[in-house]
Amino acid sequence: MQKQTENIIEVKDLVKRFGAFLANDNLTFEVKRGEIFGFLGANGAGKTTAIKILSGLSYPTSGLVNVAGFDVYKQRNKVKENIGYMSQKFSLYEDLTVKENIRFYGGIYGLSNKYIKQKTEDLLNRLKMTQIQNSLISSLPLGWKQKIAFSVAIFHNPKVVFLDEPTGGVDPITRRDFWEMIYEAADAGITVFVTTHYMDEAEYCDRVSIMDQGKIKALGTPTELKKLFKADNMDEVFLKIAR
């Protein structure tokens, strides 16, 4: 499927202030349906603040923010229903089984029992994890947990999924399996919003933005940014901006 032109995330002049501190200083960007968008920045650049706003957990001080067609001021619950979230550290209950975790998340998003049952079967087949459906998450290797965590994050078919350093710490082959799952989700029309410290993860994104001190300092495809900053890789681009 070709990338579509419909905007799933629209941010215009987003400002977030904490007292005198300007955490987000006039951010403006759009992310399209099915796009893999990398949201980069140093520690303290303002990424977490912006993500909390995009996911309906915090109000902007000013500016327009629209996610999945909903306004983050007035339709926060609608925003939350239409997004998924996965972080590297957390996501699954270690003392529940694979199946119980899926069932739990499906229930939270208000999916019917029948739908959950059917979709769980499909999912387990696709992941080739039917055999381990009744194993505790704590007994599984990290790479498997990550795949399940991602599958759970998109189980309710959100318009956008937020991934926080999704592939940190896993072996390189598992990491690539994981990126293929991300490509597949994007191909199916889910917008993937990735935050990461690791610039080699940024190279997988369709477009990336780089934040520094509350502002977006660069935005474009990895190829464009490397050309613009005369750099061989995104690590060099980042260092030129944030150092």
């Binding site: 920045g41 520690n43 896993v170 690539r176 190279e203 260092l239």
Partner: protein, 303 residues
């Protein structure tokens, strides 16, 4: 070999049923920057906890500066600096209090070894009265390194010092390590990030408790067995599927904007592949032969 500072011989460690380290051997020379590169669960932390005398090996032996990790643990502790993976300084003491604490434990003072930590400490000295718990990630890391160095150790052992740290702090950290190495300190560092291998003199690639290869990064790359091509087009997901359907293609791995591809015959006719991909409706096609990197090598060794 001369000047062996760390010698590890058939080291094994088991926890109940899990064999975390399965017979690992390596040695590190004086003044070397040695990297243990591998994913979570590879056994890196177990090896470092044995070397720092915090844990006994199940089997095998390890010597640091000629001292045995089991019998001579007290002497070893006086001669090594250790930075564990989790920030383990006192969050409710200030920057300066933490540093003074570690200096005092080792019977020294900040002033006595200031020269060694100066490069690093000056960057956090303006915040010396701030509680350690209130520092940013990059600053915590600099304080932890200063504390690990304050007794002027011969060997520095750093467990994933750059995990969770942004690219700028990460780069600065590696620059600090290289300067410390130049002062003659032997450094063992672990990391799950393959690109950091290039900063080390030698690396051990480790997976599932076993070392797959030990050498200089250049030689490891030189030993990559086959030719490698980078391929990309507008629709990378479709490209993965299409390339895998071709009978002469051996492996296809996503690698940032590109796919890294090997051929069963050891060669790829670029023009021919280009026309196959055009036929499959790909646009903006780029194909070029490339040199492998450490991550390509790691994956090839995993098979």
């Amino acid at each position: 070999m001369q000047n062996i500072t760390v010698e590890v011989n058939n080291l094994k460690k088991s926890y109940d049923k899990v064999e975390a380290v399965k017979g690992v051997s390596f040695s590190v020379s004086k003044g070397e920057l040695f990297g243990l590169i591998g994913p979570d669960g590879a056994g890196k932390t177990s090896i470092f906890r044995i070397l720092t005398t915090l844990m006994f090996p199940s089997e095998g032996s390890a010597r640091l500066l000629g001292l045995d990790v089991v019998n001579d643990f007290k002497e070893i502790r006086n001669n090594i600096g250790y930075m564990p993976q989790r920030f383990s300084l006192y969050q409710d003491l200030s920057v300066e209090e933490n540093l003074t604490f570690f200096a005092t434990i080792f019977g020294t003072t900040i002033r006595e070894n200031y020269n060694l930590i100066k490069d690093i400490y000056v960057q956090i000295e303006p915040f010396k009265n701030r509680l350690a718990g209130k520092l940013s990630g990059g600053m915590k890391q600099k304080l932890a390194l200063s504390c690990a160095l304050i007794h002027s150790p011969n060997i520095l052992i750093l467990d994933e010092p750059t995990t969770g740290v942004d690219a700028v702090s990460r780069k600065e950290f590696w620059e600090m390590l290289i300067r410390l190495k130049e002062k003659g300190i032997t450094i063992l560092v672990s990391t799950p990030y393959m690109d950091e291998a290039n900063m080390c003199d030698r690396v051990a690639l480790i997976q599932n408790g076993e070392i797959m290869s030990i050498d200089t990064p250049d030689k490891i790359i030189g030993n990559f067995g086959s030719k490698l091509w980078a391929v990309k087009s507008r629709n990378i997901y479709q490209l993965i599927k299409d390339l895998r359907s071709l009978d002469f293609i051996e492996t296809v791995f996503p690698f940032g904007e590109y796919l890294h591809v090997t051929s069963k015959t050891g060669s790829i006719d670029i023009e021919k592949l280009q026309s196959i991909l055009i036929e499959k409706n790909h646009t903006d096609i780029h194909i070029q032969e490339i040199r492998a990197n450490i991550e390509d090598c790691f994956m090839a060794l995993m098979k």
